[in-house]
Amino acid sequence: MMTLTLESLRHDKRAAIIATALMGLALAAFPFMVGSTLGNSWLRIIDFAMLYIMLALGLNIVVGFAGLLDMGYIAFYAVGAYLYALLASPHFGLHLPIWLIIPAGAALAGLFGALLGAPTLRLRGDYLAIVTLGFGEIVRIFMNNLNSPVNITNGPQGISGIDPIQMGGITLAKPLSVLGFTVPSLHAYYYLFLALALFIVFVTIRLENSRIGRAWVAIREDEVAAKACGINTRNIKLLAFTMGASFGGVAGGLFAGFQGFVSPESFNLMESVMVLCMVVLGGMGNIPGVILGGVLLTILPEIFRHGAGPVQTAIFGKILLDPEALRMLLFGLALIVVMLYRPAGIWPSTTRRREFRGESSDVLKEGE
């Protein structure tokens, strides 16, 4: 049904405009609907979902488009977050403006991406996975320990008191009043994150349908053939790492400003794994799928969190099982079940939907 409506939209310009307007209205009203029905804790979760969408789209460039399995992606998120924390908090007494920090975070994360990419480009899939995983851990361990002899990261305690995001004297930490309306802080963050997420979606779509995007996919499909077509695979792969990382850097900066606090704990391997799951479970390489994956995997554990305790009380009259463990248990089961029934992801791109390794025609097998 979904595809049918999308198809008809492509042909009818007026319907497309109306649909976009409705969609925009829905997205604009969404935080008020959530805030008034489910409360502020869910609004926070929605804000986080926006950040995860940005992360998932960034990782999708590396994993989904270029086919490079990166399991240390959260390191770039960490780089963006820590840069923000260091440049806008009492820790060093610096309070630089956001329009400087966020681009700087993107650039620095991009640089880290290139740094990781350069020595690892020759590696095959699984080796790349483990090296990137190691890289992510290295970044985290340094953040954990760079508090002595010179205190840079404040170690495991992390950095707190980070400036909230503010632009031109307007801070998002307090309710805004716009044209007589009062926009609460969480709502304002939602709009900012939504805008940036949409921007990243836009950039990703443009990239996908470009010479660069085709080169990425070509490398994923067959690296030797891509080289034979004149693609400088080294540079193009580095570009994928850099672009993906810079998205992570942006999301990281926003996270630091939103949360007001960063610590190495927020950037452990489980987080990298989570973002990878969003990409693969949603539908690798397919932008709507990846967005769906980001939203689902942010919300699902929270639903389990909110459900695990009360449902037990309702059934057994008391809490028998540790709700935290139960919620992650259910989450793990959900991952398994979804992948078993939809191995190509929930919403795969049409081109990958039927891709099953064993089924792919033998003439495309490698080896001369």
Partner: protein
């Protein structure tokens, strides 16, 4: 047009461990000709191909291409110089459409980068349109325009071969190197392929053909070189090659009769 050498291989050597895959192979391909490279299985044809297209580094010798010494250090540079290739076991981008496969071939002759892609400025739009146009032309040229939107891996075997040739042509090659393009084709398909290769040559592109199908090679090529155990044992026009005793011996008097 024919006459000057487009490619000159001088004393090319390549060994893998102790196995000598190529020993002192020298040959020259003239501009505008269809040049055949034949030999029994394991004679070193594909190895020569891989050296020529930058996939392997030669252990000795040099390649002169269009007057310049070819530093065949990387495959993408070979493509840039004007050497395009197909693969013995077809290597397409299976999950991309036929159209996209050919568009990837234009990569080396186009320039749009990340900024261009994101801004989608008029120059990028023009370039993108030109890429698409050229890809459409090439799909027509190899006669698979009706399959443009199909995934490459859903194409029939013969169409996949044609698509691979279209993709190679998209790089605007001076030399098109085809590695056993007729392998696995039936008689009609082979006949179509012959017409296609002749057409490519008449458009001014030099063709290097590795082939098992000796009949096809002899009927199509202007000149033929024969490799045996990594050495060139003969290089001449087909009629002479066919009568060369060394060649006949190499093939054990088999399919050359």
């Amino acid at each position: 047009m024919m006459g000057a050498n487009l490619l000159e291989a001088r004393n090319i050597a390549k060994h893998f461990g102790g196995v000598k895959a190529l020993t002192d192979v020298s040959l020259s391909i003239r501009k505008g000709e269809i040049y055949g490279l034949i030999g029994p299985n394991g004679a070193g044809k594909t190895t020569f191909f891989n050296v020529l297209t930058g996939l392997y580094h030669p252990d000795g010798g040099e390649l002169i291409f269009a007057g310049d010494k070819l530093k065949a250090s990387a495959p993408h540079l070979a493509a840039k110089c004007g050497i395009a290739r197909t693969f013995q076991n077809i290597r397409l981008f299976g999950n991309m459409s036929a159209m996209e496969n050919v568009m990837v071939g234009r990569h080396v002759r186009t320039h749009a980068g990340v900024i261009g892609a994101v801004l989608h400025d008029s120059r990028t739009r023009r370039e993108e349109a030109a890429i698409r146009r050229r890809a459409e032309e090439l799909l027509h040229y190899v006669n698979i325009a009706d399959r443009a939107d199909d995934l490459a891996r859903h194409l029939s075997y013969g169409d996949q071969r044609r698509l691979e040739i279209a993709r190679a042509l998209a790089t605007d090659p001076k030399l098109l190197a085809l590695d056993e393009p007729a392998a696995g084709m039936n008689g009609t398909e082979t006949e179509g392929l012959r017409t296609l290769i002749e057409g490519i040559r008449s458009d001014g592109i030099t063709v290097l053909l590795i082939e098992h199908d000796v009949k096809l090679v002899m009927g199509l090529c202007d000149r033929v070189a024969v490799l045996d155990y990594g050495e060139k044992i003969c290089e001449d026009v087909p009629s002479v090659v066919q009568k060369d005793p060394k060649v006949i011996e190499a093939y054990l008097g088999g399919s050359l009769a």
